[in-house]
């Protein structure tokens, strides 16, 4: 075989391609189709479905492609049902793709080879991986054996992760007695004990209170800061992404509609933010109108829509020129961002 190339085998398919040491994840034309039996409502519908259920196919992911390099922290976002979790499950070997190509660190994930699984971590906001009746430290021990972690490395990682996740005081408490946020932080630490190089996080801050979510975000940022780990993070919470990721991939209805920098997203894509201003005295309508589009207004309060990248500038001009008592800038919901990308016509 030529130097700098490699052969990849999947079933009878053999591919030869140039090796790229910096490429952690390659995805080409990836598709996942689900099926289920359609069932009419009610008891009669259930009985009918037993004998003549109509098979319905749903395309959860439709021919997506991406390359992710070592050291990147990528936000993978989209509304509910967009296909982000399905993609993550194909990347981590849980789901078999219907068509297309996936490669993670030179492995085909669906084969679930031991070396592949030892190099990744999947952390989900929803599913509980720890033994429910047992304390986290027992699960840590379990991970040490399962991942064959060298004793010295285990001790070092454990110490660092316990500190980072701030769970030193709850390690001996059975999982069922912990709060949701505490449990998730224990899980994060446990999932990283074996020092994975590719980390998949599926809505890690979902259903968490603000403080816990902030702690988790800080944790992820620390993880990615070393530059040797590749992190893919799905979320439908913009704050997760803006705080943690350099790159953003937006998926909607199974297709990628944006792949680029997180900061660049707000620029030139027609995305707007809403500023709510409460005035402490009379205000001039003409001046405010000159800064953006007034959506609602009364004597004391105005809701103003401005282009995303101008929001800070507009806020400071309002402060300088008018008797502002309070001001708040609302992030655009994911649905509006995606709608804007579509309206722009060149997602």
């Amino acid at each position: 075989m030529e130097e700098g190339t490699r052969e990849l085998h999947v079933g009878k398919l053999v591919r030869r391609e140039a090796t790229d040491a910096m490429k952690a994840i390659t995805v080409e034309d990836l598709t996942k189709q689900y099926w289920f039996f359609e069932k009419e409502a009610g008891f009669a519908g259930s009985v009918r479905a037993l004998f003549s259920g109509k098979k319905v196919f749903v395309d959860a992911v439709r021919g997506i492609g991406m390359d992710v390099h070592v050291g990147e922290t990528v936000g993978f976002i989209g509304p509910n049902g967009a296909g982000k979790t399905t993609t993550l499950k194909m990347l981590s070997g849980i789901l078999h793709p219907t068509a297309g190509w996936v490669e993670v660190m030179g492995h085909v994930p669906s084969r679930r080879e031991k070396n592949f699984l030892k190099g990744i971590a999947l952390i989900t906001g929803q599913r509980n991986r720890l033994f429910w009746d047992l304390p986290a430290e027992e699960y840590f021990e379990f991970c040490r054996v399962v991942y064959e972690i060298d004793e010295g490395l285990y001790r070092r990682n454990r110490e660092a992760l316990v500190e980072l996740a701030e769970i030193g005081d709850i390690l001996k408490v059975p999982q069922r007695k912990l709060s949701f946020g505490q449990r998730k932080r224990c899980e994060l630490a446990a999932a990283l004990l074996h020092d994975p190089t590719v980390i998949f996080l599926d809505e890690p801050t979902n259903a968490m209170d603000l403080l816990s979510a902030r702690r988790v975000r800080r944790f992820i940022r620390e993880m990615g800061s070393e530059g040797r780990r590749t992190i893919i993070l799905t979320s439908h919470i913009m704050a997760d992404i803006e705080e943690v990721c350099d790159r953003l991939i937006i998926i909607n209805r199974g297709q990628i509609v944006y792949d680029g920098g997180t900061r660049e997203l707000n620029q030139g894509n027609g995305i707007t933010k809403r500023i709510r201003i409460v005035f402490g005295g009379p205000w001039e309508r003409d001046l405010v109108e000159g800064l953006g589009k007034i959506l609602e207004a009364d004597d004391e309060e105005v809701l103003l829509e401005v282009e995303s990248e101008r929001s800070v500038e507009v806020a400071s001009r309002l402060f300088a020129a008018l008797p502002v008592k309070d001001i708040s800038i609302a992030e655009p919901p994911m649905e509006r961002i995606i709608e804007s990308l579509y309206l722009k016509g060149e997602p």
């Binding site: 699984l117 033994f131 379990f142 399962v146 064959e148």
Partner: protein, 266 residues
């Protein structure tokens, strides 16, 4: 290398976890063991009641039926200590809820993990009276110890466990397609119970089914016959081949099931 040492360590660890879990619910633990022993005693009374009316069940006399009974319970206990609850109840649930995902990303054999994740120590302790009962029955039938027979008995018992493992896996693996967690395991429970009666109580079609098609005789009757020295080597070999066939089919279904796994949405 499949790293057997790591798997032994894991079993030891799962055993420790099971013990920790059981100790957390101590009152429940003793109550359950008592319940299991009482259940076994009641079944014994049932057999005694039958033998008050008849001398034999087919070719089986009272003491021989007791041996069958003791063997059945030992196999049953071994199965419930290890894989039964995990495969028959937990696996369909994990498929339905998508909890299987978190096991799939661990670098251990997935079937090992889902079969032994929660060992049932309750049945480990309840199996002690069953062993004592077997020793008592062996004494009653006047069993003269021979290595050959003892080895055949243990081998065929292992065969019975493997056969049951395959049947449970076949039934549970269907959950990958049906995504139902209820009812599936009940089918198995009811089938399994047939194994505690001598085949002689069945006639015609069902006798053929339970001897050859779904040979529930492998569970207790075949190992017992090895001890009673009335098992033909041909049937013993047939029993092992059937188990192999069921196992191959179960593993095939498991593999196809995983490929078909849809995982619950989050």
């Amino acid at each position: 290398m499949i790293g057997l040492g790591r798997y032994f360590k894991l079993i030891r660890m799962l055993f420790k976890f099971a013990l920790m879990r059981q100790m957390a619910y101590r009152a429940h633990f003793f109550l359950m063991i008592t319940g299991k022993v009482v259940r076994m005693a009641l079944l014994l009374f049932f057999f005694q009641a039958i033998f008050l009316k008849v001398d034999r069940l087919g070719a089986w006399n009272y003491d021989q039926v007791l041996l069958l009974f003791a063997t059945f319970h030992l196999v049953d206990y071994l199965m419930s200590i290890t894989f039964q609850r995990n495969l028959a109840f937990r696996l369909p649930q994990r498929i339905q809820t998508g909890e299987l995902d978190t096991r799939m990303v661990l670098p251990v054999n997935l079937l090992f993990m889902v079969s032994l994740e929660e060992l049932d120590l309750m049945d480990f302790f309840s199996s002690i009276p069953a062993v004592a009962f077997l020793v008592y029955v062996l004494d009653r039938i006047g069993f003269a110890f021979s290595w050959g027979q003892a080895l055949a008995y243990l081998t065929l018992m292992a065969n019975a466990i493997l056969f049951l493992f395959s049947v449970v896996l076949i039934i549970s693996a269907t959950s990958f397609w049906t995504v139902q967690s209820h009812g599936v395991s009940r089918v198995f429970d009811n089938l399994m119970k047939i194994g505690r009666y001598p085949l002689d109580i069945f006639e015609g079609f069902w006798k053929v089914v339970f001897a050859y098609l779904l040979p529930l005789v492998l569970i207790a009757q075949v190992p017992s016959q090895a001890l009673l020295a009335n098992l033909t080597p041909g049937f013993a070999a047939f029993g092992c081949l059937v188990t192999l066939g069921f196992l191959v089919f179960a593993l095939f279904l498991w593999k196809r099931g995983l490929e078909n796994y849809m995982s619950a949405s989050s």
